[in-house]
Point group: C2
Chain length 240, copies 2
């Protein structure tokens, strides 16, 4: 154990030699271990027995455009909880964020895995351009995206309406939970708060792997849409 781990386990959690600890590393399932040596700068854990096998989530990617920090953190946490296998932040034409802290987002995914009882930790990739991701899109991976109408600033009772554009009719087939016949590899793409650009929408609708999903008559924020879309997918094609 390194210094930080020893500090946490012995300093913060007040564990000592003989204490039982559950370990997982995202690759080998879950193991019961015992503290064999405990020090201020390190320690040794003895693995006793495997308590659970590695449980891989279904092959689902969550692709999203980073938004405000708290909501970006939230999307990563939720993707890990909901059972995404890989989390891919992308820059779209209307994304404001130029950079992300990949290491911080990966740490959020680890925390979510600890919390939700999983034995798998999804990889958070570096920020990449959506256009580049689509240039190299795997032939066999289906893509669900939410082509939500954009709502400008819209306010309660007494404020300014900034506009609102009705969503264009999807040209690619609709994803209807329970009626979709493509299992296997999938990705869910959540657009930025301002929606996709016309060029992006045209490109997405033209992909043979694309499916448009409807998330109801209200406009959902990106983080809400991510959880809702993953719910529909997990429930009809995933491991729920």
């Amino acid at each position: 154990m390194d210094r930080d781990q020893a500090h946490y386990l012995f300093g913060v959690m007040r564990q000592a030699v003989g204490a039982k600890v559950a370990l997982f590393n995202g690759r080998d399932g879950e193991w019961l271990a015992e503290v064999a040596e405990a020090g201020k700068r390190g320690g040794v854990l003895s693995c006793l027995e495997q308590t659970r096998p590695l449980q891989m989530p279904p092959d689902l990617w969550l692709i999203f455009a980073p938004i405000k920090k708290a909501r970006t953190d939230f999307i990563v946490e939720k993707a890990a909880e909901m059972g995404a296998a890989r989390i891919l932040p992308v820059q779209t034409d209307f994304t404001n964020s130029e950079r992300i802290r990949q290491d911080r987002l990966q740490a959020h995914a680890v925390e979510a895995a600890e919390q939700c009882g999983g034995t798998f930790v999804p990889e958070v990739t570096d920020l990449q351009k959506l256009s580049r991701l689509l240039d190299h899109w795997p032939q066999e991976r289906q893509l669900m995206f939410c082509d939500e109408a954009e709502v400008g600033q819209r306010l309660f009772l007494d404020r300014v309406e900034g506009g609102g554009r009705p969503g264009a009719e999807g040209r690619c087939p609709a994803y209807r939970p329970g009626e979709v016949s493509q299992p296997g590899s999938w990705a869910i793409l959540i657009g930025p708060e301002g929606g996709f650009s016309e060029a992006e929408r045209k490109r997405l609708h033209g992909m043979e792997q694309a499916h448009v999903v409807s998330l109801g008559p209200r406009i959902l924020r990106a983080d809400t849409a991510a959880v809702a879309a993953m719910t529909l997918w997990q429930q009809s094609l995933g491991d729920w």
Copy 2:
């Protein structure tokens, strides 16, 4: 318009006489209005025409146990976005929170309605005891609840396992999206992070209106579970 509204519209948003504004009050749909008078301490808006009728959400309550402030805010925001008609914070046996700021939570619901393009704002009720709510449970209202297994502190690679109790088998019928035959009035109940007490679980399973819903093999945080459960309900029985 009152002073705050005038400050927002004229000071922050830089609108002037003649500007068009979209109004909604949660009761009369959406109206196009024009600024007739603009001042520092107030103003007058003239309603021009109704642009949308009131769109009521389905008769769905979201009942939840308040958790940390940010996650409580989040649950209220998500419930409004997802189309809950009423939001009811409750104290359960394992709820830590003794009080909430009802006015602040109601303001979050208003903001979410502005954001999501709705014309309806769900009411946020005052904190009440779950036991008291169940004492007066309406005969005709179905109740979906998530009887998630409790997971104690569980950590990545090298930390302490605080326990984990497998979820008891639900005794009341399961909610399976697409197979549920009770439309009408519903409520979704999301338990606290520590789960329900044995007494609460027994009481809930014994209710004739109760349905247990499964949200997959991973343990979801309360805020994630709220969005996921509302998604399943809206998609099978609501207005999606």
